[in-house]
């Protein structure tokens, strides 16, 4: 898979402070890429560089293999976390203006706006001013404006904040559809469950450095600890526990079960496989539950950040 966006050793300094320290990311075409990191890690700095709001001090950014240039603006759609539109301007006029700034012709912009306004059932807002709309309504307009020029690369900074669950879901579906139509999406968010749900690639930035990146499944594989969640029952659960404790590293686990089983997390030595464990366990009792423990993005996030502190 070729990459649509590559940042190579990007350095950005604000005076004495280094906001990005040789950060490289590689965003594959057609992916949903999660850009993660604690507050103040440097995510927004990187996004601003991609949007050519600021320039990197060192390193370079390639879009579709070309160094970033002014005309690439039309290939990128950006929805910043700081949301806003011209308050005293009418919705339609405003959307047309912003679309034209992205290089669309007036008639083309009008046509596409009509499509989106009908899709979101907001056609009767055309002549309203932004200040007459609610926050969620204004955000919908903002979303439309972001995607209207059909950019190759979409960058969303906390896209779901401010939306109610129904609209958040709707926006999520739209994002997935845009991905299916060929766009690549960069996602910057703190909501790990949406990363889990949507992203196939992630990069984690912490204290101006990239500390982790790759395909989400690879990252998880890398972070798994060969631990299995086990529900096992025997005549004497205490005795079984003692037996197992001699052989493995045990911790208590918690999951829903209808059985009166021992609930354990069993960590294996690297050399052992799940089959070895399972065959041993079946010889000791009734195995009702056997699952590999896969770290959540949340766990990985917290673990990585804490390790790097």
């Amino acid at each position: 898979m070729s990459s649509i966006l590559q940042a190579k050793d990007v350095v950005k300094k604000y005076g004495e402070y280094t906001a990005l320290n040789k950060v490289s990311i590689d965003v594959p075409k057609g992916s949903i890429f999660g850009l993660l990191g604690p507050n103040g890690a440097g995510k927004t700095s990187l996004i601003r560089i991609i949007n050519q709001i600021t320039a990197p001090d060192e390193g370079q950014v390639l879009l579709d293999g070309e160094a970033l240039q002014q005309f690439h603006i039309k290939d990128i759609g950006y929805m910043p976390e700081e949301r806003g539109l011209y308050k005293s301007m009418k919705v339609g006029e405003q959307a047309l203006y912003l679309a034209q700034l992205k290089g669309l012709s007036k008639s083309e912009a009008k046509m596409r706006l009509k499509y989106w306004f009908e899709k979101f059932e907001i056609s009767d807002w055309w002549n309203k001013k932004i200040q007459e709309l609610s926050k969620g309504m204004a955000q919908k307009i903002q979303f439309v404006v972001t995607v209207l020029h059909q950019p190759k690369l979409l960058i969303f900074d906390e896209p779901f904040s401010g939306f109610d669950p129904i609209n958040a879901n709707r926006i999520k579906d739209e994002i997935l559809q845009l991905r299916d139509e060929g766009a690549t999406v960069i996602f910057s968010t703190h909501r790990m469950e949406s990363v889990e749900e949507l992203c196939d690639h992630i990069a984690l930035i912490h204290k101006s450095n990239k500390v982790l990146d790759g395909k989400l499944t690879d990252v998880k594989r890398q972070y798994k600890s060969n631990t299995f969640q086990v529900g096992i029952g025997a005549e004497d659960n205490q005795k079984l526990r003692a037996t197992l404790n001699q052989k493995f590293e045990l911790t208590d686990s918690d999951f829903k079960s209808i059985n009166d089983d021992l609930k354990l997390n069993i960590k294996l030595e690297n050399s052992d496989t799940s089959n070895d464990l399972l065959s041993y366990l079946t010889s000791q009792g009734q195995v009702n539950h056997f699952v590999e423990v896969i770290p959540s993005v949340n766990d990985i996030f917290i673990q990585t950040v804490e390790n790097n502190n």
């Binding site: 600021t54 005309f71 700081e82 949301r83 806003g84 301007m89 034209q100």
Partner: protein, 439 residues
């Protein structure tokens, strides 16, 4: 991608469609004209005050001057002549009749003493312009008396009054005079004040327009679509065009009101002069004005002036509005702008006053020349100097400096603007702004 026309269009239309802009466009000339009418009315009220003056003239000959034809026609001032009573009786009479005052001319041995002993009695202290009018008429009469006493032919005296106005001419044959110099300078002053007014009214508008994206939180979207320098240029040009539109509307609308008022209501806008002004005009009446004006015009480098006026006016306005834009770029909201305002207006005020004094003193002296090169003062000072003749190369150098500085300030402002978005909610200091330039 050049978005400049698009931005200019949006800025212009948002300004022009703005309700307060529309209201101000129509209300301002009305307020202005209302103010003129009020002032005119008040001064007329003052001038039209009915006065009755009693004159007790013991010499019996001086007060004859108040019997002239113009005095008889004068509606405002009536003269009442007293005879054969004492001063105390006269005072009492005047007080009882509630007259304006009593002029007492004592009979003395010599005219010199008569002049010294003239007194005016009144309830309150009298109008100064009225007193000086009395004084000049009395002194003229008394001078005549003295001349007559000494058997001098008065018509000869009148004929022998000479007025001197030194004509000035450079070696290259360029003529001028004190009056012409003043009117030349007046042109510069007028241009300077017009620029000053324009900057104060519309500079603020530009500044607010630059802050607009920040207060609306749309700045990141805009700045990821257009270059800041394009945005700022668009704002400066768009707002200026809106300003020009408003200014023209004021002239047209105000002019219409004046014409309507004077045609249908007979309101005399030009009669609204004070007594002093009337006097000044009367004194100058013996000079032929039309000849003078055509002489002044022929002595001015008119074509050069008109072209230079437009170039310097536009350049000066753009330069100062780009400074306002820079302030807007540096701050988050309007309340933070105060600390930057004074330094902007200072050079402009300096230009008008220093320019005025030094150019009159020596139009081509060091100070005036230097000030006509400094871009912040050159639009005013150079326009003051040009009527006195400035070489075309000098003018071009000054223009180039002015426009380069303008380009520099817009660049500077856009630099600040780009960095300013990273500093939400922080009130910037000068030191910090200087640091931003290096980012």
């Amino acid at each position: 991608m050049n978005h400049l026309p698009l931005i200019i269009k949006r800025e212009y239309l948002t300004k022009v469609k703005n309700k307060s802009f529309i209201i101000m466009t129509f209300v301002s000339p009305m307020i202005f004209i209302g103010l003129i009418m009020l002032i005119a009315y008040l001064t007329q009220l003052n001038n039209n005050k009915q006065r009755t003056i009693s004159i007790l003239d013991e010499t019996g000959k001086i007060s004859q001057i108040f019997l002239s034809e113009t005095d008889k026609k004068d509606e405002n001032t009536k003269y009442h002549f007293l005879q054969g009573i004492t001063l105390e009786e006269a005072k009492k009479q005047v007080q009882e009749a509630e007259q304006y005052g009593l002029l007492h001319i004592r009979n003395m041995a010599s005219n010199e003493e008569v002049a010294r002993q003239i007194k005016f009695y009144s309830e309150d202290s009298p109008s100064q312009s009225f007193i000086s009018k009395l004084e000049s008429r009395l002194s003229e009469k008394l001078t005549q008396e003295v001349l007559l006493q000494n058997n001098v032919d008065i018509s000869l005296v009148n004929k022998s009054k000479m007025q001197v106005a030194i004509g000035q001419e450079t070696f290259s044959g360029e003529q001028s005079s004190k009056l012409i110099n003043y009117s030349k300078l007046g042109f510069g002053f007028a241009a300077g004040y017009l620029l000053f007014m324009f900057i104060i009214i519309y500079g603020n508008m530009i500044m607010r327009s630059v802050i607009e994206e920040k207060t609306n939180r749309i700045i990141e979207i805009i700045i990821s679509s257009v270059k800041p320098i394009q945005l700022l240029m668009g704002k400066i040009i768009g707002t200026s065009l809106a300003g020009i539109t408003q200014f023209l509307m004021w002239i047209v609308f105000g002019g219409t009101i004046i014409v309507i008022l004077s045609l249908f209501f007979g309101f005399d806008f030009f009669g609204a002069q004070t007594a002093q002004q009337q006097e000044l005009i009367a004194q100058g009446a013996d000079i032929d004005f039309s000849v003078l004006i055509s002489y002044i015009i022929s002595s001015l480098p008119i074509v050069n002036l008109i072209i230079a006026f437009f170039i310097f006016f536009i350049g000066g306005y753009l330069l100062y509005s780009s400074l306002y834009a820079a302030i807007g770029a540096a701050v988050d909201n309007e309340t933070d702008t105060q600390q930057f305002m004074m330094p902007i207006l200072m050079p402009l005020i300096l230009a008008v006053y220093v320019g005025g004094f030094t150019v009159l003193e020596d139009p081509h002296g060091t100070v005036a020349t230097v000030f006509s090169y400094i871009p912040f003062t050159s639009p005013v000072v150079m326009l003051m100097r040009i009527p006195f003749g400035v070489g075309i190369t000098e003018q071009i150098i000054s223009i180039v400096i002015l426009y380069i500085t303008f380009a520099g300030t817009v660049w500077f402002a856009s630099k600040i603007y780009r960095v300013g978005i990273l500093m939400y909610g922080k009130k910037p200091s000068y030191k910090e702004i200087f640091k931003w330039l290096k980012y």
